[in-house]
């Protein structure tokens, strides 16, 4: 498809601006003016609308396709939350208003949303307090690690490293490294959980903490979580809960009750906010009491008279970690989602997420060996090593699924399992959809036996076939103008 820049015709404009109603009183001195031509396209509004509408049709999306990406939790995004986020009383609100003298009076509704969300997330996770400021999951991780550092510094602890299981998301070690810690990776045991003996071997007084998902990226809930917490706490390490998989255990297990000291959540995973094709997200961080005083400022406070205000007066705080109060419009959607479902509804989402995942696992386990043959939580993990031996790799099965109108599951993650295929159906999919997926996977398995070579040119029904990624990385054409200069 043509780029919008290639549709440009001199003289067109897609938006009508007002004529100026003020006299011209000054001009900008020449030395401050841009010399380069502004190479934006010149197109009509219809050109723009048609272009982006056509582009949108090149995408698979949750609204149109089953999207069982393991660990990413592509659950349905309820439409009414979009309506809520678009309300002018929220969408047009300037973030500096509450920083004006007496300004909190003009944002009471917004502050109430933040306050309630913090309280509910605390109750859901068993934490004492929350900050909603982190702008995505990885940003929440970085915030969490900074909180850990502040805690250790205040206690005079000399901590050097953070322990991360080998099954962890790449953001875990990356976030800990950005915050200045060394990383120690610890291997998983045969059942998919952290290997306790190996954990003991690396735990020292220099351990700042352990970062883990629970259930982990193997789809396994670690029954030894109590013992792991005790071991980490014994060296005054902190237990960090990566909330990527909280959606499996709502109302079934709270991180705060099993020894975690702090958590980050991905609102787009557990609370139904849209992924946006790669953000914006929201990554609130919750802490137990011993970490509360370090939380970023501002904090939302409710006064005895019921009014809300922003409190910046926390001397032990790690400071500002975002410009304002978080991705408010995302938080608002999650708040609306929680209001609608209530406690029982939230628990129900986990029940059905786990039911759906186990159903899929059992229907497919004869065709695709499961990495860990046990009850799974919200996602199940297969390995395509047997298929790979015939020349059909996980990526080939993924591309086959695209032709069936199904977005592929996560492949090659976690790194601990060869030819991994990680399927997370979520609670919002019907049994018919799951069966449709199972049938497609079984057909792929059959085809891999009879005609493995057929896989190499899947997908065949998309606007493009497999792209040459090597060429992209070598040529680095990332700007329309530079690549044509």
């Amino acid at each position: 498809m043509k780029l919008i820049f290639e549709q440009s015709v001199r003289g067109r404009q897609g938006f009508k601006l007002p004529d100026s109603d003020v006299p011209v009183t000054a001009v900008i001195a020449g030395k401050y003016l841009r010399q380069a031509e502004l190479l934006l396209p010149e197109v009509s509004e219809l050109d723009v609308v048609r272009h982006f509408t056509r582009l949108s049709r090149l995408n698979f999306s949750l609204d149109a396709n089953f999207y069982p990406l393991g660990s990413c939790t592509m659950k349905y995004n309820p439409k009414f939350t979009e309506k809520a986020a678009a309300m002018p009383g929220f969408a047009d609100l300037h973030p500096l208003l509450p920083q004006l003298k007496g300004g909190e009076r003009y944002v009471q509704g917004a502050l109430e949303v933040l306050y309630d969300t913090e309280r509910w997330l605390s109750e859901i996770t068993g934490m004492k307090a929350f900050t909603l400021q982190p702008l995505a999951g990885a940003h929440g991780e970085l915030t969490g690690i900074m909180l850990m550092a502040a805690y250790h510094k205040a206690r005079g602890n000399k901590k050097k490293h953070i322990i991360v299981p080998d099954s962890a998301h790449g953001t875990n070690p990356a976030s800990a490294a950005v915050a200045g810690y060394q990383i120690i990776s610890v291997a998983s045991d045969k059942k998919g959980g952290i290997d306790i003996e190996k954990l003991k071997a690396v735990l020292t007084v220099e351990t700042a903490g352990l970062m883990m998902t629970c259930p982990d990226t193997h789809g396994v809930f670690n029954s030894s979580i109590g013992e792991i917490s005790r071991l980490v706490h014994a060296v005054d390490g902190l237990m960090y809960y990566d909330g990527a998989n909280l959606n499996a255990t709502l109302g079934r297990c709270r991180p705060g009750d099993v020894g975690f000291d702090l958590v980050h959540l991905n609102l787009h995973k557990t609370f139904g906010t849209p992924h946006g094709g790669g953000g914006p997200g929201a990554g609130p961080v919750g802490v137990m009491g011993k970490l509360e005083k370090f939380l970023p400022v501002s904090r939302v406070v409710k006064r005895p008279d019921g009014l809300f205000y922003l409190d910046y007066g926390h001397p032990d705080s790690i400071g500002y970690i975002a410009s304002f109060y978080g991705n408010f419009a995302i938080i608002l959607r999650a708040y609306a989602y929680m209001l609608l479902l209530g406690g029982d509804g939230l628990k129900e989402t986990s029940d059905h997420a786990v039911l759906n995942a186990n159903y899929l696992m059992h229907r497919l386990k004869n065709n695709y060996p499961v990495a860990f043959d046990r009850i799974c939580m919200h996602e199940c993990l297969f390995s395509a090593t047997k298929h790979a031996a015939r020349g059909v790799h996980a990526i080939d099965i993924a591309k086959f699924l695209i032709d069936q109108g199904i977005h592929p599951p996560t492949v090659y993650f976690p790194l601990t399992v060869k030819e991994a295929i990680m399927v997370e159906p979520t609670e919002t999919e019907s049994r018919e959809t799951l069966d449709f997926f199972v049938d497609a996977m079984i057909r792929a398995d059959a085809l891999a036996r009879t005609d493995p070579a057929a896989f190499h040119d899947f997908p065949r029904t998309m606007p493009i076939s497999r792209p040459d990624e090597t060429r992209a990385a070598r040529e680095m054409n990332v700007n329309f103008f530079a690549s044509r200069a």
């Binding site: 390995s383 090593t385 090659y412 060869k418 990624e469």
Partner: protein, 137 residues
């Protein structure tokens, strides 16, 4: 597998060919094949001292990045500039034209920490036998 008799090897799949006190370093067929199409080699600066098994550079393919460690201690005296524009040279000729750096070796005794061609061959066979986590079992 392309193993050259007079080269020495590391378990991280680097090779070194020492001639007149200068070691030419590259990665092995096993490494280039595991990486796939190489898209970038982060060429180090010359005149830099490196320790044995210290990180020398890194090599990227589309979906992976791999650190390259120096097989021996010494001073980097030359880098293969051709790799800047043509990183795929490593894929096409990893044991020869796709060399990465030349090092003025400072301690020949360190070669005892390396694998001979024969030892490296056996090492590769042992890797094939226990190919990591086999989830079929």
């Amino acid at each position: 597998m392309d193993i050259i008799e007079h080269y020495l090897y590391t378990k991280e799949h680097e090779w070194i060919n020492i001639e007149d006190g200068v070691g030419t370093v590259g990665i092995t067929e096993y490494a280039q094949s595991a990486l796939g199409d190489i898209t970038f080699v982060d060429l180090p600066h010359t005149d830099v001292e490196v320790e044995q098994f210290e990180q020398l550079t890194s090599v990227e393919s589309v979906k992976s990045a791999s650190d390259i460690f120096s097989p021996m201690s010494g001073r980097i005296i030359d880098v293969n500039d051709k790799l800047a524009d043509d990183p795929g040279l490593i894929n096409r000729s990893c044991s020869d034209k796709g060399w990465i750096v030349k090092i003025e070796v400072s301690d020949m005794d360190e070669s005892s920490n390396l694998l001979t061609a024969e030892e490296y061959g056996s090492y590769l066979e042992s890797l094939d036998r226990n190919g990591g986590v086999d989830t079929d079992e």
